[in-house]
């Protein structure tokens, strides 16, 4: 098991390195000039040349990439003399537009993204899996058809549209909720929940639909398996058959996509955060794109990619715990 974990972690490090290189290459090969981006529109050629030196843009791409990697591990500084800035490890770059290390900007925003992701995930997991299981057990019933229609509708709703409709109905028309704004959980738990309800529902509508559809399909699959028939034949009670023999295998694929979805959301719910104006990592990415703040875009991409890749590892490890066959093959 330990060997398996180590091997997975090594593979993860390799993937992260490739992601890092690919992201770096995109920004290096593309025509946009990072020095121009760091300095703004009204910028003299001399100042741009100076920034190029500060950022190390006069070096080859390999040297720049090496410096970037070293910065992540050991931190680095930019420039010398009065203009020098320090970027402590893990240094994912420095935003000259906001005068902050990218890492600090990311960690400042992370709690909001985590609040959104975890709350929404709990909501969609409960609603989606329950709806899927009930649908599978009552296949063809009115409930099944209604739930699956609703699920398909949820899957087809763009999050920003759901967000606007919810905000129009709940805030403008009915006045049930305040306009969303970031409230720290520790300062005001009720206000925090109030500000998070709409993002949670928005995301949960989409994901609960997906999960309900998958759960139903998997559940029907496992209910048709021989081992379920065997379990019934040997006289197990129906709830025990359903729980231990039908539901358990049906939930395995759910574990996979749940890990991936949660990982992706922890790295920032870009659209949801933008619509509701909540200052999470996703909003940071959207803002950085609008202001062409390249170090931040690069940093967010890597940050989010790490969450996705680490979620993959977590899923594999959970799988290995649940299913010994994976350990042997993996």
């Amino acid at each position: 098991m330990i060997l398996y974990v180590l091997r997975r972690l090594a593979a993860t490090a390799a993937i992260l390195l490739v992601v890092c290189a690919a992201t770096f290459a995109i920004f290096y090969l593309m025509p946009a000039d990072p020095a121009q981006g760091a300095c703004g529109k009204a910028c003299s050629p001399e100042r741009i040349a100076e920034i190029r030196t500060t950022l190390g843009l006069n070096h080859s791409v390999f040297v720049q990439f090496r410096d970037y990697l070293v910065g992540i591990v050991a931190g680095r500084g930019f420039g010398t003399g009065a203009h020098a800035v320090n970027c402590p490890a893990p240094c994912l770059g420095f935003s000259f537009q906001t005068d902050q290390p990218v890492w600090r900007m990311l960690t400042d925003r992370l709690p909001v993204s985590v609040s959104i992701a975890v709350g929404a995930a709990a909501l969609w997991l409960i609603v989606g899996v329950t709806a899927g299981v009930v649908s599978a057990l009552r296949r063809g019933s009115l409930w099944d058809r209604a739930a699956m229609t609703a699920a398909l509708g949820g899957v087809s709703l763009p999050v920003y549209f759901t967000a606007l409709v919810l905000q129009y109905l709940l805030v403008v028309k009915l006045g049930l909720l305040p306009y969303p704004q970031a409230v720290p959980l520790t300062a005001d738990p009720v206000g925090w929940a109030g500000s998070m309800v709409m993002p949670w529902i928005t995301l949960a509508m989409l994901y609960a639909g997906i999960y309900a559809r998958i759960t139903r399909g998997e559940m029907l699959d496992s209910l048709g398996q021989n081992y379920v028939r065997t379990a019934r034949a040997k006289g197990l009670s129906e709830p025990a058959v359903l729980r231990r023999h039908a539901l358990r295998p049906a939930l395995m694929p759910i574990v996979t996509i749940f890990g991936m979805d949660l990982g992706a959301l922890l790295g920032g719910a870009l659209i949801t955060e933008s619509v509701f104006g909540l200052p999470g990592v996703g909003k940071l990415a959207a803002d950085a794109i609008n202001s062409a703040d390249q170090p931040v875009i690069l940093g967010v991409t890597l940050f989010a990619a790490s969450f996705v890749v680490l979620a993959n590892v977590a899923v594999d490890l959970v799988y290995a715990l649940l299913d010994p066959r994976v350990r042997a093959v993996g």
Binding site: I15, V19, A22, T23, I26, F27, M30, P31, A32, R139, L152, G153, V155, S156, L157, P158, V159, Y160, F161, L164, V165, Q167, Y168, V172, L203, Y207, I210, I214, G217, E218, L220, D221, G224, D261, A264, L265, G267, G268, A269, L270, I271, T272, S274, V275, G282, A285, I289, N290, A292, Q294, I297, L298, V300, T301, A304, A305, F307, V308, V309, N312
Partner: protein
């Protein structure tokens, strides 16, 4: 990601089905929901094709400003009720500029469908070619392609697309969207094609053709490829709604289709500051987008059910 990605993958690809178009169509039309979805899709395509005609019939164009339709005293809100719906502007006008929403929505359908269909074509072409080669030949080809697919699927695609698009300022956005969507979408096609090709490569008919002296190219083109049309059709249909939604999402974020070319996502984004005062402005493109994605989703399910005996059982 925020869920607008082309990720819906059928739980299992049909083993070895060769669809005949006429029988597939008949089977689709036999299901009421599929028939409705197909009708909606056909209507949408017609609307997109006839966009100039519709705008002409409505007496406007997507870029005409109608300052008489908005009220400067109210900050540019459309005159009249319901977002300025009137005999001249059937779906109302944009606040501020007074551009006709109907004209913009039908032109938006063009952009939306064109990009989604072309992106599907790109991902299907890439995914089929690479998946076929990987699955049929196996060995190191399979390892390389397989690793590449794993890698691409573990990328946070939406953020990567954004990084790519925002780092390329001068490029034609619509073309770039097609390339980027197709590039991040092909592994989903490739994975299924690869699995099918692996099974088919071991089939007796392939062995028979090989014994008869068929070249490797002939084996691929005449024996394996035709048998993949079913699964490819399923995964292609199922990936269209994802592309529609992703294009709209990127345009919503301001890195998709550039103004003045109208796109649904972009329209919804520009409606955000007005949503409280003029809900019609975001409802119209939103409903169009929702109906389009829903229709393609229903159609995708129906095509899968029609071609995949395993899922029909459900």
């Amino acid at each position: 990601m925020t869920g607008t990605l082309p990720a819906p993958v059928p739980s299992a690809a049909p083993p070895h089905v060769g669809p005949r178009e006429s029988s597939l169509l008949r089977r689709l039309l036999a299901q009421r929901s599929a028939a409705v979805a197909l009708t909606v899709v056909v209507l949408l395509v017609l609307v997109a094709l006839a966009a100039p005609l519709i705008a002409w019939a409505a007496g406007t164009s997507p870029t005409d400003f109608h300052s008489e339709a908005v009220d400067p005293a109210l900050g540019g809100l459309p005159r009249g009720t319901g977002g300025g719906i009137s005999a001249t502007h059937w779906l109302g006008v944009e606040p501020g500029s007074g551009r006709d929403i109907l004209a913009r929505v039908v032109y938006g359908a063009r952009v939306s469908l064109l990009i989604a269909l072309l992106a599907t074509a790109v991902s299907v072409a890439l995914g089929t070619a690479l998946g076929l080669v990987a699955g049929f030949f196996g060995g190191w080809t399979d390892t390389v392609v397989g690793r590449l697919m794993d890698l691409l699927m573990s990328f946070p695609a939406l953020i990567f697309m954004i990084a790519l698009i925002s780092a390329a300022p001068g490029v034609n956005r619509q073309l770039l969207l097609v390339v980027v969507l197709g590039f991040f979408g092909w592994p989903y096609v490739g994975r299924i094609v690869r699995g099918q090709a692996m099974v088919l490569a071991r089939g007796e008919f392939v062995a028979a053709a090989r014994v008869l002296g068929a070249s490797r190219r002939a084996l691929l083109a005449r024996e394996v490829l035709p048998n993949l049309s079913g699964p490819v059709l399923v995964v292609a249909t199922m990936s269209i709604p994802g592309y529609v939604a992703t294009e709209a999402g990127l345009s919503f974020l301001g890195i998709g289709v550039r103004p003045p070319t109208p796109s649904w996502g972009q329209m919804i984004a520009s409606a955000v500051p007005w949503y409280a005062a003029d809900p019609v402005y975001f409802l119209v493109p939103g409903v169009f987008l929702f109906v389009t994605v829903l229709a393609f989703n229903v159609l995708g399910d129906a095509v899968r059910d029609a071609l995949d005996p395993r899922s029909r059982r459900r």
